[in-house]
């Protein structure tokens, strides 16, 4: 299963220190894992929530440095795309997988898949035994929808104000964190629903 999906910055942000990342959207699936760990049993709900937020932030920072290192190594100049060129932007995106050891930060080992599109990254944290080919396809699909529907290649802030669209998208393509084997017909059906949701 997928543990969380996030959209975050990988470019320097004026108010943040180097190496820090601004999380624009994050969704953790399932119960808070602190509820089941002996180590965190005594925590208050507020502390558990905070712990979960910090875990997500750790992932964002690690992905940010992974993307930067990968870009530095490849030496390719960064392509600038404008709204309407979502497919091209995705094609040009850097991507990779990263191992998150048990306890760093989740209690079990996880794999983080990331897709770096210009100054933003889309990241999927899934259980280590997951089918990563399927996860990668799902991540690309999710990213494409987000880019298109929230006009993310432009200057707007829709990802912040219309995050419910991402929620609705996840509810269909990745329900409760479950990766689905969807052929193009199933996917088309869902896409119609997603588009209908966004047009409201």
């Amino acid at each position: 299963m997928v543990r969380c999906f996030l959209i975050h910055t990988i470019c320097p942000v004026s108010n943040l220190g180097p190496g820090e990342s601004r999380i624009l959207y994050s969704r953790v699936f399932g119960p808070n894992e602190a509820t089941f760990s002996a180590q965190h049993r005594g925590l208050s709900p507020e502390e558990k929530r905070l712990l979960q937020k910090e875990k997500v932030a750790v992932v964002a920072r690690q992905v940010q440095s992974a993307v930067c290192l990968s870009r530095e190594a490849s030496g390719r100049p960064l392509m600038e795309s404008v709204p309407g060129e979502e497919a091209l932007a995705l094609q040009e995106a850097d991507s990779g997988a990263m191992r998150l050891r048990a306890g760093e930060p989740f209690s079990e080992e996880m794999s983080a898949l990331w897709l770096g599109v210009q100054s933003l990254a889309f990241t999927l944290v899934c259980e280590a035994h997951e089918n990563l080919l399927l996860a990668e396809g799902t991540l690309r699909n999710l990213s494409r929808h987000c880019l298109e529907q929230l006009h993310m290649l432009g200057q707007g802030s829709e990802v912040l104000l219309k995050s419910d669209r991402v929620d609705a998208l996840l509810g269909r393509v990745l329900p409760h964190g479950q990766l689905l084997f969807l052929n193009h017909r199933f996917a088309q059906g869902l896409e119609k629903e997603v588009a209908a949701y966004a047009s409201k």
């Binding site: 942000v13 119960p31 030496g75 990779g96 990668e136 419910d164 329900p175 052929n183 017909r185």
Partner: protein
């Protein structure tokens, strides 16, 4: 993409004044009181969500607002469900766990409930509710399709929520969903227009990805205009099948205290009940299952295994079809991975299935092995061979040649493959050691992935490295690690040479690229790019190679690679002391000395490597002091070379220290007076040279630590061979005289000079009483080993006890 506007929006959400927030809350309550929710409600909820989620700490909503928002969870408008659950996820702490509050339960509310679960007990009762939901086939409330993934999430976090009854029930359900979904297209397929007769109103059959009509049961690779609910359940159930097989396995193992007999009876009685749909109209006799024995008589778990087997078999066949869409081609690959993994699962539980499965796996391997675009599919295939090859007595060599040979050699730059391949290795280390011992010989190949993508993979290799270190590979592995930055540069060149035509402008002028293409240097690069170990530890013309690659020293990839080499070396040395005998360790010391001056010239690289070398040289000698006598010739040669003082300060200091410390009869009886004397003379010559002349032109002064280490080492040697004492004393007295003037050419810092002289004086006075000097400078091991003198807690009681004993006995 990320604009200043977004940043300021986040700041606003964070810095909002309390009074303003309260105003916003009360306005929102008013808005929510209106029956019809319009654009304003949506907009306000979106803003509220941003305010709540932008903050690290949660804000408590007013009780009335929380109540209003909660009531939206069961609104018929999806957007309001989504927004209210998002707001509550961010704000409500200690939300009462009660499904009745959210009736009818929709998917978004169900997700919210799950995220707020606060104990295992809550989760257990949630699990029971979900299962009841599945059982009742409720049409209202949470749809079946959404129940399944929530259930999967629950059992991921807490598999012990499941009882044996649950397992039986779900296993039967899985069989239904997987195997007996409708084979006609779902809703909206044909509209039944005016001219269409009743015949054409019959829904058309589902088709395969290549457009042909499907002749067998429904799978995730079947398409139609629309889908029925049971077809959706088929997709969901296959998507979580593997996890289910893994989980129920652990559940039934964990609950072994349950009376097995009753469990068996129970499951048998269930399997004979009529609560499954195998006889319901619309099922189809499968081409696949027609050949198998009547699985209806099997208990539920075995039956599920059988059906899973058939499903995967059909999927593998379906992947042969040419899909029209690129996304479907990708899906086929993902399905192959899943199918092979599921087959692996069922075969692990029931070995009798291995014989039936292997022909399919073999055929799959035969079909895909020549096409590297299927590499990631072939990894689970390799896993299958590893797990079951022995049972089926299948020859796996060709599989390993592909996985350890061609994959890293040709696909080292595929991030995902590297991630998966290394995980495969890590998870299977034990069985690989046992079944594929030759895998360690592929280390030059495996390291290509590390050389290419060092920062991302260093973590994996920290875990893998110890398994690659064997007595047979150690020396070659050490050389390879030291030249890892060269390998990194060579891989870059290899790709560039392939992509840039020789005539192109970008290709000219790059010395390394021209060298890479030059036939006379071909051998050097081919050695670096070798796939297997065993052709030789290293090459003669290493310095030539380093010169050719000098320009690559500032390539980002090469620099990053160089940064991780020290880490890998630490792991290497820590592992090698566990497998190596003294002869091998002696060889490694030689490599350390030799390679300390033979490294690719990357700023600070040599320094870092010298630091690692020093640390482990010390370690090796501490573990096996007789190594110093063994290798005294080479160590002396190194210590006697004055230039090493200046350009290898770190390692030089340590070599001198080990000579002084371990060249002693107490460490090795072969240590003769002659040996001690010749060592003394070598050190004396160097010390004399560096303290009597100015440093080589342009160079800096020798480090004070080198000088004091040399003095101490000489004093130690003299304490073991008293004839040498006058020579040390003479030197030390001269040193005092020379420095009385205040400044010398070989030491720029006055404080350093004072420290050096003080140390000299201490040694000198010690040596005046040779007996004391020996006990201090060469103490017997029983004194140094427990290190009493360093541990005040241990030393004081010991002394007190001794004194008490003496006074009482009198």
């Amino acid at each position: 993409m990320y604009s200043q506007g977004s940043e300021s929006l986040i700041r606003q959400a964070r810095d909002i004044e309390e009074s303003e927030l309260q105003k916003f809350y009360s306005r929102l309550i008013k808005v929510l009181k209106v029956k019809e929710h319009g654009h304003e409600t949506v907009d306000s909820l979106q803003r509220l969500h941003l305010i709540l989620s932008a903050n690290k700490y949660s804000r408590q909503l007013p009780a009335e607002l929380q109540k209003k928002v909660s009531s939206l969870l069961s609104s018929p408008v999806e957007q309001l469900q989504v927004l209210s659950s998002a707001v509550l996820r961010e704000s409500s702490l200690g939300l009462e766990y009660n499904q009745k509050n959210f009736s009818p339960l929709n998917s978004h509310a169900a997700a919210l409930l799950l995220s707020q679960v606060d104990s295992r007990t809550d989760l257990s009762s949630y699990c029971t509710q979900l299962l009841r939901n599945l059982e009742n086939r409720q049409s209202e409330g949470l749809s079946l399709t959404h129940t399944l993934p929530i259930l999967n999430s629950v059992i991921t976090h807490s598999p012990d929520c499941l009882t044996e009854d649950h397992v039986t029930f779900l296993s039967k359900k899985f069989v239904d969903w997987l195997r007996y979904a409708s084979i006609t297209q779902g809703g909206g397929a044909s509209s039944g227009g005016f001219f269409t007769g009743p015949r054409s109103r019959q829904p058309p059959p589902i088709t395969e990805l290549d457009g042909t009509v499907s002749g067998d049961f429904f799978t995730v690779l079947c398409v139609g205009q629309g889908f029925t609910e049971d077809q959706w359940m088929n997709v969901y159930s296959f998507s979580m099948l593997r996890h289910w097989l893994l989980t129920y396995h652990s559940v039934s193992n964990g609950n072994s205290t349950v009376d097995t007999v009753s469990r068996l009876q129970h499951s048998l009685s269930h399997s004979f009940s009529n609560d499954d749909r195998s006889e319901v109209d619309g099922s189809v006799v499968s081409m696949v299952s027609a050949t198998s024995s009547s699985s209806r008589l099997l208990p539920p778990k075995e039956r599920l295994r059988e059906k899973a087997f058939q499903y995967c078999q059909r999927l593998i066949e379906q992947c042969d079809r040419k899909a029209h869409k690129k996304t479907d081609t990708d899906l086929q690959k993902a399905c192959l991975v899943e199918a092979v993994c599921v087959l692996d699962c069922v075969c692990s539980e029931d070995t009798s299935l291995v014989y039936r499965t292997f022909p399919y796996i073999k055929a799959l391997f035969g079909r895909l092995s020549s096409d590297l675009s299927f590499a990631r599919v072939l990894l689970p295939v390799a896993q299958f061979y590893l797990n079951h090859g022995e049972v089926a007595a299948v020859d796996c060599d060709v599989v390993w040649k592909l996985v350890f040979g061609r994959f890293p050699a040709e696909l080292f730059n595929d991030n995902f493959l590297a991630h998966e391949l290394l995980r495969f290795l890590r998870l299977n280390l034990d069985s690989l050691k046992f079944r594929v011992p030759q895998y360690t010989h592929f280390f030059p190949n495996l390291l290509k992935m590390l050389a290419w993508n060092s920062p991302a993979l260093v973590d994996e290799f920290v875990d893998l490295m110890p398994s690659l270190v064997t007595a047979g590979t150690a020396v070659e592995l050490l050389h390879t690690l030291l030249d890892l930055p060269c390998l990194s540069a060579t891989l870059v060149l290899q790709l560039r040479a392939a992509s840039l035509p020789i005539a192109e402008a970008g290709a000219r002028g790059l010395v390394p690229l021209e060298a890479f293409r030059n036939p006379s240097f071909r051998g050097l690069f081919l050695f670096l790019l070798r796939t297997e170990a065993g052709t030789g530890d290293t090459i003669d013309r290493l310095s030539t190679l380093h010169e050719l690659l000098a320009e690559a020293a500032d390539w980002p990839r090469v620099v990053r690679c160089a940064q991780i080499v020290p880490v890998m070396l630490h792991v290497f040395f820590n592992a090698v002391i566990k497998v190596a005998d003294e002869q091998l360790l002696a060889h490694l010391i030689l490599v350390i000395l030799e390679r300390s001056s033979l490294l690719l010239n990357i700023p600070s690289y040599s320094k870092e490597i010298h630091r690692v070398f020093s640390c482990h040289l010390l370690n090796l000698c501490k573990l096996h002091p007789s190594l110093v006598v063994d290798q005294s010739h080479e160590l002396l040669e190194f210590a006697g070379t004055t230039t090493n003082v200046y350009n290898k300060e770190e390692i030089y200091t340590h070599v001198v220290w080990v000579l002084g410390e371990y060249l002693s009869v107490s460490c090795d009886s072969r240590c003769s007076v002659n040996l001690i004397t010749s060592c003394f003379e070598a050190l004396e010559a160097v010390l004399f040279e560096i303290t009597s002349s100015t440093p080589p032109s342009g160079g800096s002064c020798p480090a004070p630590r080198v000088i004091t280490t040399l003095m101490s080492a000489m004093a130690k040697l003299a304490s073991r061979s008293h004839d040498l004492i006058p020579r040390v004393s003479l030197f030390l007295s001269k040193l005092r005289t020379v420095t009385r003037g205040g400044s010398v050419a070989w030491c720029a810092d006055e404080e350093d000079l004072v420290s050096i002289v003080t140390r000299g004086e201490e040694l000198w006075s010690l040596l005046k009483t040779p007996g004391v000097a020996q006990s201090v400078l060469t103490p017997p091991s029983y004194i140094t080993e427990p290190r009493w003198h360093r541990d005040t807690n241990m030393a004081m009681p010991l002394r007190l006890r001794l004194l008490t004993h003496l006074t009482h006995s009198q």
